[in-house]
């Protein structure tokens, strides 16, 4: 066994143990999948011929090709998963922001609003204006919403 194999197997084993004992976290749902991947990697490094045989069974010429195809598929799945999470997160932010806007709307005063100063001086003007009651929420939302302005 080469030094590369020894170091790789040690690292992968440590990674597998870490995944197995992980507490609750973002990877919890994918724990079984990750453990299978680590086991396959250990197998492939310790006994490369196993990968080769398996690849031949699937009609793929080389074990290395099998790993490449598998990595491409796994990467695509991970991207889709991240995109789905980002989409869900964006919708939650949008929903929350819209609800706050509706809650804090300043109603128009219609034709009764005649003020020579051009200012709204009725008691409605004393109401908290949009976002003013949420000084702790607004900065957090602004931070979450940073990025390219959207028109």
């Amino acid at each position: 066994m080469t030094l590369f194999q020894i170091l790789s197997l040690a690292g992968l084993t440590a990674l597998g143990v870490a995944i197995a004992v992980l507490p609750k976290g973002p990877w919890r749902g994918a724990r079984v999948f990750l453990l299978l991947m680590v086991a396959a990697a250990i197998c492939g490094i310790a006994k490369p011929i196993v990968l080769q045989r398996f690849a031949e069974q699937l009609g793929i010429g080389r074990g290395a090709d099998l790993v490449t195809y598998f990595n491409a598929a796994a990467l695509f799945l991970c991207l889709m998963r991240m995109l789905a999470r980002e989409t869900a997160f964006e919708r939650q932010i949008a929903s929350l922001t819209r609800q706050m806007a509706l809650r804090d709307a300043r109603p128009g005063l219609g034709d009764a609003a005649e003020d020579p100063r051009g200012e709204c001086s009725t008691p409605q003007d004393k109401r908290p204006l949009a976002g003013e009651g949420d000084q702790d929420i607004v900065p957090a939302l602004r931070a979450a919403g940073t990025g390219k302005p959207r028109r």
């Binding site: 889709m80 819209r98 706050m100 509706l102 051009g118 602004r142 302005p149």
Partner: protein
């Protein structure tokens, strides 16, 4: 209180929103300005206009989300007819009055403005080509035969507005509205309108890059409904 509500989504339009809103006030309908998380003084300008209903997004979400917020607010307050109107000063308020008359007399669910049936002074050639491409894409995508697809001036009945649960927060909402019209089989008619292109509105308008963003947004919605 008027039964007609005009929704004006607004993002960083502080220099012009006062003029646009003042013009709309001459129509004596309810006006709703949704400040979509502007960084400038848009909110403060509208705040000094007591007749206007004012809502504010704490963060910038996009025109689609601002429209949805404004429409929902208008429906909650009993709107029977809803007008959407851009805040960048491109539209003519007389077209709003025409649209309201048209929807009342024609019996359709939606009136869509079309600059290609009306006039679009000083429209750059690149913009014209981009819009024509959008018309062709929309025909393929939704089956609707239209002369213009991305005009912010629309008039909707209450029933039609209630179907517009826009999911696209950004500019793809214009295509989404047409998708909903096609899917729900809403009746519609196009109305000639006058568009004014100014250096300001052109700077604020969509670019060719934005059209790619719209396409990607629509594709993403297909993959992740």
């Amino acid at each position: 209180m008027s039964s007609v509500w005009i929704i004006v989504p607004s993002f960083n339009e502080g220099s012009i929103i006062g003029t646009v809103t003042a013009e709309l006030e001459t129509l004596a309908h309810e006006i709703v300005v949704v400040d979509d998380g502007s960084d400038d003084d848009t909110y403060e300008v509208v705040r000094r206009m007591p007749r206007v209903h004012l809502l504010r997004h704490a963060v910038n979400l996009g025109q689609g989300a601002a429209l949805r917020t404004g429409i929902e607010y208008a429906l909650q307050n009993g709107a029977q007819t809803i007008v959407t109107f851009d805040a960048d000063g491109q539209h003519d308020v007389t077209d709003v009055a025409t649209g309201i008359r048209l929807i009342a007399t024609s019996g359709v669910d939606v009136v869509l403005g079309s600059r290609f049936l009306g006039t679009a002074a000083a429209m750059p050639r690149g913009r014209r080509a981009l819009l024509k491409a959008a018309v062709a894409f929309t025909r393929l995508h939704t089956g609707l035969t239209l002369t213009d697809t991305h005009v912010g001036l629309r008039v909707l009945t209450r029933a039609a507005a209630m179907t517009l649960k826009l999911q696209h927060s950004r500019m793809a909402h214009a295509t989404e509205i047409l998708q909903i019209i096609a899917r729900r089989r809403l009746t519609f008619v196009e109305m000639p309108i006058s568009m004014r292109y100014t250096p300001y509105s052109l700077a604020k308008g969509q670019s060719a890059l934005d059209s790619w963003a719209i396409l990607l947004s629509l594709l993403r919605a297909r993959l992740l409904p």
